[in-house]
């Protein structure tokens, strides 16, 4: 798990403190408005000693976080890389703005970006990455450094490979189960999020319509003598009830965000499993190559041609390397790939276990806080309606 003193987060305090709007010219020289986020860092030992140094800070926009994450995914294909908060507001219920500039959305994104940095900086492997360190400490020139690593080329081929279809003969069973699990997790969490958004929308409607009682009671109280006071105060409680749903649903968005994080995590998990399939496939191709080369040699020596191979023919005609040399080369290649497969399986399996424990812990906490929220909502409801009842009794 996490070794003592090894992760960045133990040495450095990190937070995403603020968000600000900026305008500038984009790549096509068009005026655009975007949001930048302030990353503050402080050395942990200074904080521990009771000093309160001013934090170092720099501004980054969402696209830079994306760049960092893409770099990490490509560079550490055996790690389930923590996800970013959503690019666009998904699973929106009607009131919540789908606008990226909406202050509530920006605030929730700020929290999500901080969460991302904390997760990455506390990861036993990712936290040691130099590019990550530069991201947190060098405002200018960071992008150039990232591109210089040449990860972009790997990113493109990764994208191609992940979307390609191919059949693997002997994938590691555990990884196939994990891949299946990640698909299911994605499916269930997205269904859940969709259903929750619709429930939230309807609940909002129920609460808000009660606000109309507030208005009518108030008007009605004006024409009554004995009932007037009771109606008037009951009306106030109805207004309070209608207003209370805004806070309730805002809190629930936090719960939804926690689920969204794991929806994205499922995708990251799937990518690690796919990478295994890829490496395994390459191994199988290499072995297949080796086998067919051996076959050809046999055929050549025995004179029985079983399968036609163009390469075999050209080799026969133009005689390139000696078959033994080529075989040796292919065997070496096969061994190398087998190493890659093995290394990926080992390292990925460790991280998958880490991820599993983290997921169970985080989601338990999320479900607890959801229950607490529901209980608090019920308590408020009891209060409002008990108060309203008192008012009606006085009518």
């Amino acid at each position: 798990m996490v070794e003592e003193g090894s992760t960045l987060l133990r040495r450095m305090e990190i937070c995403v403190a603020e968000a600000e709007k900026r305008s500038g010219k984009n790549a096509m020289s068009m005026q655009e408005t975007f949001t930048v986020y302030l990353i503050e860092t402080r050395p942990m030992d200074a904080v521990a000693e009771g000093h309160n140094p001013a934090p170092d800070c720099l501004w980054r926009r969402y696209s830079e976080f994306e760049l960092l994450r893409n770099y990490l995914i490509v560079t550490y294909p055996y790690i389930v890389v923590p996800p970013l908060p959503e690019k666009r507001a998904e699973f929106v219920w009607h009131k919540l703005s789908a606008d990226n500039m909406d202050p509530d959305f920006v605030e929730r994104r700020r929290v999500g970006l901080e969460n991302f940095l904390l997760r990455v900086a506390s990861h036993p492997v990712l936290s040691n990455d130099k590019i990550l360190y530069h991201f947190l400490t060098e405002e200018h020139g960071w992008k150039e450094v990232v591109y210089e690593t040449g990860f972009q080329a790997k990113a493109d081929s990764r994208l191609r490979a992940l979307s390609a279809t191919f059949r693997v003969r002997n994938p590691d069973k555990r990884f196939m189960e994990m891949k299946h699990y990640s698909d299911e997790l994605q499916s269930h969490t997205s269904q859940l999020l969709r259903a929750r958004a619709r429930v939230a929308d309807r609940l909002y409607g129920v609460y808000k319509v009660h606000g109309n009682y507030g208005r009518v009671f108030s008007e009605w109280s004006a024409i009554e003598r004995e009932m007037g006071d009771g109606l008037q105060s009951a009306g106030h409680h109805m207004d309070a009830y209608a207003a209370s749903i805004d806070d309730i649903l805002e809190e629930e968005e936090h719960y939804a965000d926690q689920l969204k994080e794991y929806l994205s995590y499922a995708e990251a998990l799937r990518a690690v499993c796919r990478k295994h399939e890829l490496t395994q496939f390459e191994l199988e191709m290499a072995s297949q190559d080796l086998i067919s080369k051996k076959q050809q040699r046999e055929e050549l020596s025995t004179g029985i041609v079983r399968t036609f191979s163009f390469k075999g023919m050209t080799n026969k005609l133009f005689g390139q390397e000696a078959p033994e040399q080529r075989e040796a080369r292919l065997k070496l290649l096969e061994d190398l790939i087998a190493e890659v497969v093995k290394a990926h399986i080992e390292r990925a399996w460790v991280d998958i276990q880490r991820f599993k424990e983290q997921k169970d812990k985080d989601l338990r906490e999320a479900l607890i806080s959801y229950a607490v929220m529901q209980i608090s909502m019920c308590k408020k409801g009891i209060q409002v309606w008990s108060n309203a009842k008192e008012c009606f009794l006085k009518m």
Partner: protein, 399 residues
């Protein structure tokens, strides 16, 4: 008289009217000892049955009466009546007491979408309203002693038919109406202050009741839609629970809470549509009744003023003077009757609406208490000791 929803539960109909009426009596006791002790007549409307004749099909309701009043020959009666009979009764009462506030009847059938006239819910809603109507009449200090009311409660179907024929004929009633309209077209000189105030109140009250009715129906609609979504929500947690190991129990906990929420929502909706909506709707109709009462009072005053003016502009004529005096008396009686009935009606309205508002508030409190209880017990069984302690600390600090 409290709102009676017990008949909706489909319990078997008791055979004798008295046992049936006893059942209602027990519920009436809830309203307070005073009412139960002074009430000497108990009426129940139930047992709708459809009757088929060559010309038409209609519903007959059983009207069961139990009384200790001396004007009644017997202490128990059981008759069968149809909606038309109720209409007849009400119109006789209004004719005889034009400025008393006669409780409204449920509306005539209106073709609304696919709802049929013989739809079970429609019949049940109507039955409850008819029950209320008769009980309201029986509680009225003047109307409950009406001869027509007695005949309605006691006469067999054929006797009622002959009694109906005795009343003022159709033509004479038409004549009265025409005269009234002719007089009122002239307009009132001025309405006495207290009736002007009443008129204004009646108009405002009518608007408020319509608004209340609309808002409540809208709430029912929104609640129903919420319930639909809840039903889609719990399975998503259940399916996910099947996929997980450690998380299975907490996820199933959420399922049980959402299911409880659905169950309680259904109860809430039931209460709203069976108790609150009918009560508000009834007072929408009451408001219309009040408007009609105000109009009739105005007409009586207008008739008097018209004749009185005619008299003043002609030479004295014994007949004319007598007529005008008669009209003056009639006007005074009408005004006094209304004044007396007005405060009785106000008190009754306040009691009725207060009681449905209270029961609605109680129902809502119950909803939140039951859901909260389930949330707490689900948390209890699904979270570890440390997690529970954390939650309890949260409770201590914030709740």
């Amino acid at each position: 008289m409290t709102w009676n929803t017990s008949l909706a539960d489909g319990s078997p109909m008791p055979n004798s009217p008295s046992s049936l009426v006893n059942q209602y009596r027990l519920e009436d006791d809830d309203e307070g000892q005073k009412d139960a002790n002074t009430k000497d007549i108990f009426i129940a409307v139930d047992n709708p049955e459809s009757q088929v004749t060559a010309i038409e099909t209609f519903i007959m309701y059983r009207v069961a009466t139990r009384t200790t009043r001396s004007e009644f020959d017997s202490s128990e009666y059981e008759v069968r009546r149809r909606y038309q009979d109720f209409l007849w009764l009400r119109s006789r009462l209004e004719d005889n007491h034009p400025t008393l506030i006669v409780h409204p009847l449920p509306e005539k059938f209106v073709m609304k979408g696919m709802v049929e006239r013989f739809n079970e819910d429609f019949i049940e809603t109507r039955r409850k309203a008819l029950h209320r109507f008769l009980n309201k009449i029986s509680e009225h200090p003047i109307l409950s002693y009406s001869q027509h009311f007695k005949v309605f409660l006691t006469a067999q179907v054929s006797d009622l038919a002959s009694h109906k024929k005795q009343g003022p004929g159709f033509l004479s009633r038409m004549g009265e109406t025409v005269r009234a309209v002719a007089n009122s077209v002239r307009g009132l000189r001025s309405r006495p202050e207290e009736f002007a105030v009443m008129q204004e109140y009646v108009e405002d009250f009518s608007n408020k009741m319509c608004s209340m009715d609309k808002v409540t129906q809208r709430i029912v609609k929104e609640q129903r839609e919420y319930l639909e979504e809840l039903k889609q929500y719990s399975p998503t947690y259940a399916q996910w629970a099947d996929l997980e190991e450690e998380l299975a129990d907490p996820l199933k906990g959420v399922v049980s809470c959402v299911v409880q929420c659905s169950k309680e929502s259904e109860e809430q909706i039931h209460h709203l549509s069976e108790v609150l909506v009918p009560a508000l709707h009834e007072y929408v109709l009451c408001a219309e009744t009040l408007k009609a009462v105000m109009r009739r009072r105005d007409n009586i005053q207008a008739e008097f003023e018209a004749k009185n003016e005619a008299l003043l502009s002609r030479k004295v004529d014994q007949e004319a003077v007598k007529e005008v005096d008669g009209l003056a008396d009639r006007m005074e009686q009408a005004n006094n009757a209304l004044k007396g009935d007005w405060s009785r009606w106000q008190h009754s309205m306040r009691t009725d609406l207060r009681s449905v508002f209270i029961s609605t508030a109680e129902k809502n409190v119950e909803y939140y208490e039951k859901v909260r209880q389930r949330e707490i017990s689900a948390s209890d069984s699904n979270f570890t000791h440390t997690e529970k302690t954390q939650t309890e600390l949260l409770f201590l600090f914030f709740f």
